[in-house]
Symmetry: C2
């Protein structure tokens, strides 16, 4: 079997051209109302800065304004919440994104709960999450966490019919595993959620039609634990001893066994940023252009 | 193997004696502030009435006041929301419960979203659900949907260590499957969520340490599809041709194979009502007695 390796950058580029057209047609039809994303972060992690720069660059390319609010380790939850509350009520700010994880001394739940759900482009407020779970999901109308959205978008692009498929997730975080599980159920997949305390992970992977791994453990998914013809989606992100970016999937060993591989780097990551931008435009459409 | 059959009624009685002591000690220490549950329902389903009567009787036995608000098919979502909003701000009402399912012409999501989260004793508001998912869970402090709580309480009573166990859920509803999956993850179980569109359900059950079935399909779980020594929890509720209440589990065929069976009737049902009452007292403690 030849394993098809997905080019996430190319997929993201295609999404951006669609989004550019959408912004143009909105401005033509309804006048140049502005779209502005506010990015809130705290602490000084290098990874956080890299992710924020990706998002800023994507906004720049689409002509979307960005305002950045960076807090230091001395700042309190209250400082972030006050910032978010002022962004919530500003007419010119149409989307708010908080870069996670926040430093552990901050109350993430309280901070994320303060985001106006109409501007909550990464679905970080627990109210946004609850509404996503309780309602039917329509990507043209509802926000969802962007990494989960990216995995779904890639599977849709591959024409995977999820109905009845067994999807095994190696992650139970609030931003990947849990929202992805909830979304996959809406597409009638059968979902197994594994994590660091799970036993017999190999057995679950061996039975899976699709494995989505965000364990953050280098080469945890190997050729001997997967099913012939399965689809592998890598959402891991670590570095090897030489500083090279690695995913969870041992590419060499799964090659020829998996039907399809979404690699790290260049797979889910770029599509995740594109999904954020899609949500930013969706928020602006709903807020500025009265499109619901 | 002798299959242990769990007596949910007895377990519920034990919980009620604890709750009675708790109410007494609260009144002794802090003075007789009142606890009152408001039950909101719509439509005239017989099942709904039966469930409401169970809850009223349990409240009566514990000396908890109940107010009932029954709406007809001609009532609108707005009528229910206005009722809930007035209950939200009344000091004497400490808990609000909406009997589900609501008639399909009503906007359940909007109605449930209007419940004050401090009084949301069955965790029906999507904000309550999101907060439950995003935070660590402590039954002495946080609400959770009562059926899911009841399953956990029974497993705790059986001294099941969920860490690393494989739990298969035959249900993906907002009140059973989804919240139960989210809670089981907090106890480090590996969780598979099946549903009516799932394929190879028998294979999943055969691999499971614990099967929780709320499919509403009579005798869907049979001896030949379960693992030796597994724990079976029935949350199904149907009636056979003679009108007798049936669960999802084929009791005769699993007997001697399962290590433990939580049957229908007399299993999860009575414990669910006890969990609701525990949450009603928890809400009153937090609201009236300042215990957080």
């Amino acid at each position: 079997m030849i394993t098809k390796v997905i080019d996430g950058k190319k997929m993201a580029r295609n999404i951006y051209s669609e989004l550019k057209k959408e912004i143009l047609s909105l401005e033509t039809e309804e006048g140049a109302k502005k779209i502005k994303l506010a990015i809130v972060s705290a602490g000084d992690s290098d990874a956080g800065k890299v992710y924020i720069n990706c998002k800023k660059r994507a906004c720049f390319d689409l002509g979307i304004d960005v305002e950045e609010y960076s807090f230091g380790y001395e700042d309190t939850s209250r400082n972030l919440i006050n910032c978010i509350k002022s962004l919530n009520i500003r007419d010119d700010v149409t989307g708010i994104f908080v870069q996670l994880p926040l430093p552990s001394m901050l109350d993430s739940l309280e901070i994320l709960s303060s985001i106006n759900v109409l501007k909550d482009v990464d679905c970080l407020n627990p109210l946004s999450f609850g509404k996503l779970v309780f309602s039917s999901f329509d990507k043209d109308h509802d926000f969802a966490p962007c990494t989960a959205l990216a995995v779904l978008e890639i599977l849709k692009n591959l024409n995977v019919d999820l109905c009845g498929k067994h999807v095994v997730l190696l992650n139970r975080s609030n931003v990947v595993g849990k929202p992805l599980a909830m979304l996959l159920l809406k597409f009638n997949a059968t979902v197994t959620i594994c994590h660091s305390k799970a036993l017999k992970v190999a057995k679950f992977c061996k039975a899976a039609d699709v494995v989505v791994s965000a364990a953050g453990v280098k080469k945890i998914v190997t050729g001997d634990i997967i099913k012939n013809g399965s689809i592998l989606v890598d959402v891991g992100y670590t570095r090897d001893y030489s500083g090279k970016i690695c995913g969870d999937i041992d590419v060499d060993s799964v090659y020829g066994i998996a039907s399809c591989l979404v690699p790290v780097p260049g797979g889910v990551g770029p599509v995740t940023v594109a999904m954020l931008l899609r949500n930013v435009i969706l928020a602006a459409k709903k807020l500025n252009y009265g499109r619901h």
